[in-house]
């Protein structure tokens, strides 16, 4: 920690006791979690509950010839075996994805990726359900798989999606943004053009808790209760109503404590639907909990963008234009969880933090025989890919111009007075002061000293690298005029009720997977209404108890729901003011609000607290003319714009010249997320994202062999950083509030995941300068770094 970071870390500040406000506050969710008394989906135990296990395809592409379930059905502990053919009879073999494609609930005709759901078994216990899977006999006819996205559109490539009417190729969609002609004109006359192929490989969010559900259908009430690992319980409920034809008010989705999400728990997976079908058919509660290999091989992956970046500049380093072509691998079904009008997510912000003349991006997305997904792992709807592209290509330009990467960036930043700034691809950045943020990072890092040290070390033959990345995010989806998911606008509801004794309950539409909503949202309401956070109960994650909203992903909780919480509290305060004017017998204009109470202007002795007002609102005695009793309000907040948090990251690495092993020695992260509600929680969000960055940059990859066998299907093969691979993080911050957010806050949950991979890769490439390396693709494992040092960058996967 440094002087500008979040304060002493060993001191205990219990501002639970403070009446109000933002600041470091210990989390309200921790007392149960540190006692082992959290309630996760797998902790749900119901009377008579059965267990579900899924039979999955062992190969990537094959036709199903026959399935024999007789031996499994005969198992004494098995209650139900279901195949795709059985679901097809009910018209339930296919379901819509969040991108308006369809996905098989159970395969009927073909299997299209290794790990695809082929049948499921419901049995009396976990182990028997698994045993019975072994008894199902499936005959497959092997088909050639399409694994490399680069060959997916070859005329000879087998057609994966022959389930779609008239489909004769593996094309998924095309997308473009910016001005092709204007960009070409700038490129044609530029002094310097640099172009680089850059792959952002397929990775996986792999939250520590895998996905799962417990479905409990009560036939008498006609009501389905579903505990599930969902980041978006309301959106899921609406989709279940549409798919399963159950009335929406008879579905209750509960997301209890969730063991990490990172976008992995946004889509609806076939397993959730299986649990529902299992409960409907058996009349018993049914639990499905996937194992780790199922999680890694079949649920939402992230990235898989094959990019060519091009940058045009003047000789003295003024960036003029950026252009990119992307080949996007979407797997076997387009299961991307993204606003409908944004099939490439928010990749359009690939112009980054720079003020340039022209930009253009063109994308082709294809189907391959791999698991579906794409938008996950804290990517802010593909901003990870965009930021990696721009921050890598800017470094390539710096190398070409022999310019310091810091100097090049500062020269091209959007300047503070240019905000709100509309980018060449049409995004309106709300606020920022990029140079100030970067200078803070340079100060903490001691950048000039580091460069000196690097010179000395190089002279000794040591490989030290310093990498810089400056990012701008666009989070808080989103304005409903532009953004919806399957027709559901991306607004969020919030309800606040002050009880007669002045305690409160606030009900959110978003859902926490570790972000600490029970704390942060209590603080937001506390700040506005003037009662201690300890007196505010936060209810979330249960569709029967909370207003409608689209859930937590894409760093949207604080930008959207946080705004809703502040505004609903202001609405309550407005009503409280009217009641106070009656109680104090003065006009509203003569009242002054001082956190927690109204008093008569000029006479602070005449005052009433929120608790006094609440008691009057529900109690005996008259209220001002025309005012209803009660002290509560609700709101549905539609954000007018996204928020644009930014940051400047500096990474210092050492590369062992003998083994090519990369060690992250230091990492300095300075973030600007506007107004800071709970600095402790913000710091935690940043730390987690930085660790993801080390994972992606150096270790993590979901690769496949040529037959489509997943090579990252367990935690032995899919390497996630432990405490030994990451340094002690150095964080700092600047504060540039969002002008349109009621409390000036921006999202922070994904900033570090977005910003850290390019900083680390830039550092490694900088370390390899003596070898003349300009680029190497992630993950920078020792073998890839070694290859790069030998002048043969490993062909990207």
């Amino acid at each position: 920690m440094t002087a500008v970071a979040d304060g002493p870390v060993t001191a205990f500040e219990d501002n639970d006791l403070k009446p109000v406000g933002f600041g470091r506050m210990l989390r309200k969710e921790d007392p149960r979690l540190i006692r082992g008394r959290g309630r996760f989906v797998d902790d749900v135990q119901l009377n008579g509950m059965l267990h579900l296990a899924i039979l999955r395809a062992p190969m990537a592409h094959a036709r199903i010839v026959s399935i024999d379930t007789s031996a499994a059905s005969a198992h004494p502990k098995v209650k139900l075996v279901v195949t795709g053919a059985m679901l097809a009879e009910q018209g339930m073999a296919w379901m819509p994805t969040l991108s308006n494609d369809v996905q098989a609930v159970l395969a009927t005709d073909k299997v299209r990726f290794q790990g695809q759901e082929v049948a499921f078994v419901v049995a009396e216990d976990r182990y028997s359900a698994r045993d019975a899977l072994e008894l199902i006999d499936v005959e497959y006819e092997m088909l050639a798989p399409v694994i490399d996205a680069r060959t997916a559109l070859d005329p000879s490539a087998p057609v994966i999606r022959d389930d779609l009417e008239g489909k004769t190729d593996n094309h998924c969609f095309d997308w473009q943004t910016g001005d092709a002609a204007a960009t070409e004109a700038v490129f044609a006359s530029a002094d310097v053009v640099v172009s680089q192929d850059i792959v952002y490989p397929r990775v996986h969010p792999a939250p520590m808790e895998t996905c799962g559900a417990v479905a409990d259908y009560d036939a008498v009430e006609g009501k389905l209760t579903l505990w599930s690992t969902s980041q978006a319980p309301h959106a899921h409920r609406t989709l279940y109503a549409i798919v399963a034809g159950l009335p929406e008010h008879k579905i209750r989705v509960i997301s209890p404590d969730i063991g990490g999400g990172f976008g992995n728990k946004v889509p609806i997976y076939p397993g959730y639907v299986h649990a529902i079908v299992g409960s409907l058919l058996t009349g018993k509660p049914v639990k499905w909990m996937e194992d780790r290999s199922e999680n890694l091989t079949s649920t939402g992956f992230a990235r898989d963008y094959i990019m060519r970046g091009e940058i045009a500049a003047t000789k003295d380093g003024k960036i003029l234009a950026i252009r990119t072509h992307v080949l996007a691998d979407h797997g076997a079904f387009n299961g991307t969880a993204t606003p409908v009008k944004f099939p490439a997510g928010f990749f359009g912000v690939f112009t980054g933090s720079y003020d340039i003349k022209a930009a253009f991006a063109k994308m082709t997305a294809v189907y391959t025989n791999k698991a579906p997904g794409g938008v996950a792992y804290a990517c802010s709807f593909r901003i990870t890919e965009a930021v990696y592209l721009v921050e890598r290509i800017v470094d390539c330009l710096a190398q070409e111009l022999a310019m310091d990467p810091v100097e090049l960036r500062i020269k091209n930043f959007i300047r503070p007075e240019q905000f709100p700034y509309t980018s060449k691809t049409g995004w309106t950045y709300d606020s920022g002061n990029y140079e100030r943020t970067l200078r803070e990072a340079l100060r903490i890092a001691g950048y000039d000293e580091l460069r000196k040290e690097q010179v000395e070390r190089r002279a000794r033959g040591e490989l030290m690298g310093i990498g810089v990345a400056c990012f701008t995010e666009a989070v808080g989806a989103g304005p409903r005029k532009d953004m919806d998911i399957l027709g559901l606008g991306m607004a969020d509801g919030c309800e606040l009720r002050i009880h007669p004794t002045g305690k409160a309950v606030v009900r959110l539409s978003v859902q926490s997977q570790g972000q600490g909503h029970e704390t942060t949202f209590a603080q937001i309401v506390a700040e506005e209404i003037g009662i201690p956070p300890a007196d505010i109960e936060v209810v979330h994650g249960d569709t029967d108890q909370t207003p409608f909203g689209l859930g937590t992903y894409g760093s949207r909780s604080t930008p959207v729901s946080g705004a809703a919480a502040a505004l609903v509290a202001r609405k309550v305060r407005d009503k409280a003011r009217l009641i106070a004017s009656g109680m104090l017998e003065v006009s509203v204009a003569d009242l002054e609000w001082v956190k927690g109470s109204f008093h008569v202007k000029g006479d602070p002795t005449k005052s009433v607290t929120i608790a006094d007002i609440a008691f009057r609102a529900y109690g005996a005695g008259d209220l001002p003319e025309g005012l209803e009793g009660g002290l509560e309000a609700q709101i549905c907040y539609n954000p007018e714009n996204l928020t644009y948090p930014n940051g400047a990251y500096i990474c210092v690495v050492d590369v062992d010249p003998g083994t090519a092993q990369v060690t992250v020695r230091r990492f300095i992260a300075v973030d600007d997320c506007g107004t800071r509600i709970n600095p402790m929680i913000i710091e935690g969000q940043v730390h987690g994202g930085l660790t993801d960055g080390v994972g992606m940059a150096l270790m993590e990859i979901i690769a496949f062999d040529e037959m489509g066998n997943c090579l990252g299907g367990s935690l032995m093969d899919y390497l996630i950083p432990t405490a030994l691979e990451v340094p002690d993080w150095e964080t700092g911050f600047t504060v540039t509030p969002s002008p349109h957010h009621p409390i000036g806050a921006k999202g922070i949950g994904e900033s570090a995941t977005v910003g850290s991979p390019p900083a680390i890769v830039n550092a490694v490439i900088d370390a390899l300068k003596p070898y003349g390396v300009r680029h190497a693709d992630m993950p920078l494992t020792p073998s890839r770094v070694w290859d790069a040092m030998q002048g043969h960058p490993t062909p990207p996967i």
Binding site: R27, R35, G36, F40, E209, G516, I720, A723, L724
Partner: protein
Amino acid sequence: MTVNDAEVTREIEGRLLLVHFLRDHLGLTGTHWGCDTSNCGTCVVWMDGEPVKSCTVLAAMAGGHEVRTVEGLEQDGQLDPVQQGFMQCHGLQCGFCTPGMLMTARALLDRNPNPTEQEIREAISGQICRCTGYATIVRSVQWAAAEEAGTRTTIPAEGA
């Protein structure tokens, strides 16, 4: 076996894993399960005072031994200092890895009351946390170590 000091006897299948015995049979759901390959450490409990991955121990093998889980860390209504440390230093986010981390941390401090940062990192290196980035976990353990050191010096003072 004894679990958190209580004698437990059950008729079980030979292949039942300790993690499932604790969770499904005894309802001690504080111990979690997160992988198939003994890599994640969300399942760490103690057997005879030593941290073990309960997904890698057959319940039958724990017969006759003393098992302690996160539910057994709190003593007489008093949180263990490592539990307090995790709260104080934001050593948890989603809380899924936390029970395993707490058990390892407690065992570490019992062996080594004043560990260095590197020793703490090594102690928890068989466990994965996807949320915190580990620095706050390290600080949490350091907080507990300092708290315990502090307690040792203040007890005589209070007693005097």
